[in-house]
């Protein structure tokens, strides 16, 4: 089993670097995961990450891309409520890359 080390503490991940135990996540771990993805975190990034985590806590799944864009649009203004904005923040794709940084499982299926 793979693992990462943040501030002297070790955390289990899967082959692709997603956290195994969702409860392990904290902001330092998130920041570390972002770094492995080459993503420099800003307040806008954290807005997305926090929304993902809240949604996951309620529904046990990451939100649909459309649900995410709508929520971000409401919070940060309509010009940011689109997937293009999310791709600017998370170039590999908002669903997979942002979920990884948020410590959530990878969305699977035909996505």
């Amino acid at each position: 089993m793979a693992s990462i080390e943040v501030n002297g503490k070790s955390y289990e991940t899967d082959e692709e670097g997603y956290l195994i135990n969702l409860a392990d996540w904290n902001e330092e771990v998130g920041a570390y995961l972002a770094q492995t993805e080459g993503v420099t975190m800003t307040d806008q990034h954290w807005e997305v990450i926090n929304f993902l985590r809240d949604y996951y806590n309620e529904f046990q799944i990451a939100p649909a891309v459309r649900v995410l864009t709508k929520a971000i649009g409401k919070k940060l203004g309509p010009e940011k409520g689109n997937s293009q904005y999310l791709y600017e923040l998370f170039p590999y794709g908002p669903a997979k890359q942002a979920c990884k940084i948020a410590g959530l499982p990878k969305p699977t299926g035909c996505v």
Partner: protein
Amino acid sequence: MAAPEFEIPKYREFPTVPAMVPDSMARVRPHVANEKIQSALGYPGALVDDWQEKAIEEFGNLLGKYRSLKVFMDSCVHCGSCTDKCHYFIGTNDPKNMPVARQELMRSVYRRYFTLPGKVFPKLVGARDLTRDVLDEWYTYFWQCSECRRCSVFCPYGIDTAEVTMAARHILDTVGYGQKYSNEILGKVNKIGNNLGLPGPALEDTLQGLEEDVKDDTGIDVKYPLDVAGAEVLLVTPSADFFAEPHIESLIGYGKVFHAAGISWTLSSYASEAGNFGLFDGDYQMMRKVAMRIREQALELGVKRIVVGECGHAWRVAYAFWNTLTGLGAGGDDPFAVELQKQLDPRYKQPSHICEFTWDLIQQGRLKFDKEANDNRVITFHDSCNVARASRMGDYPGGQFDIPRNIIRTVANKFVDMDEATIREVTFCCGGGGGVLTDELIETRVKGAFPRMEALQQVVDRHGVNFMATICAICKAQFTKVLPYYGFNMRLVGGVHQLVSTAIRLGDEQ
């Protein structure tokens, strides 16, 4: 998830057969399923100690069960007709991605253990022991096949190469050497009801959000109903339609079609997946388990019709396997089949593809469109392999090619086809089908998309195409990811019902 470095194939002036680069893809293989994923499906958690014995035993079982597999093992004459027909060979130049060579990985083992000359003089007939290297080679190269069956079209003996791939993958599963991506997904369908693992409350929340969006856009209350007993139609669609872009645009379109036609319909949270990954390793029991959820929901909700959304291998399974696996479809007169048949409306094809459904309504004059709403789009159509080569739509051969195009021409003014050597029956796979659509195989996927990208580039250059419509969730996800590698905008791909959605008149604007 930093993308691995690799060279993107260069467009060819003439589509000549590429020079071979042996073993160029030998290092590219998908993640192996872990114990938890494997055991949830009843497979060994890791490679078993006596894997060689078990694999040969399972190979023998399959040969005994499926006459087709034995014929496919015996009948290849190595004529080479298939060699340059595979998108993975064209894109990777690895000779083991020539269909004949990929199958030879298995045939050489077949000869060793199941034919007399191979048992007695293995070297003389190119028979190989099933060593660990050979097993690893199977895992590598049978996961660089998307089971698209383009090579089969050109095979003079009609060998269904996808069945060979499926058999190899199935043997790998039974010895504990499963693929993470496909098997994790099968576990989720069995547990939660769909490939994404989207629970009922999340689905409900997503659908409510869609109703609000459509209301904001159109001013009309289009419903996206869930678990409604007594609805006329049960729609099963790939769960990606609930989650991903551009998939969800087609889901919006389906809802508008039902609304405009005034036909009651429902989605199901229990049967919230049309895709059936059981197909990818040819395990009919697994396929049946996934498909049975749809039968059970059809019976429970009391629907009269079953319609399948835009999903390639879902339609193959629905069209070709549902009748024998679940009694859903024509032909069965046993009590199990009759129980469902007597509930379903015999005036309609069961199941129907959403394109058949929409096209029927168009022909009856029950849908109206503002075609010019799509005038910003110059559209082409990518035939998805499982729809094109393993199923049909309508009531004549080739309906599966015409009906989606007919719909596009009805809802939009500007449509052009790509080169005829790359569409319809000889369409090129998107490069991500059959269980290959996973991040660690991105190199396989990008290179496998190459022939389609060449054909697309041609219509982009000549006709200004800016929208490639398709009717498969895998194609949509795959193209969204790989289009940028070839300099295209990821939004160039979308669904047929996305175009329908743009142009349809909802009828009650007044």
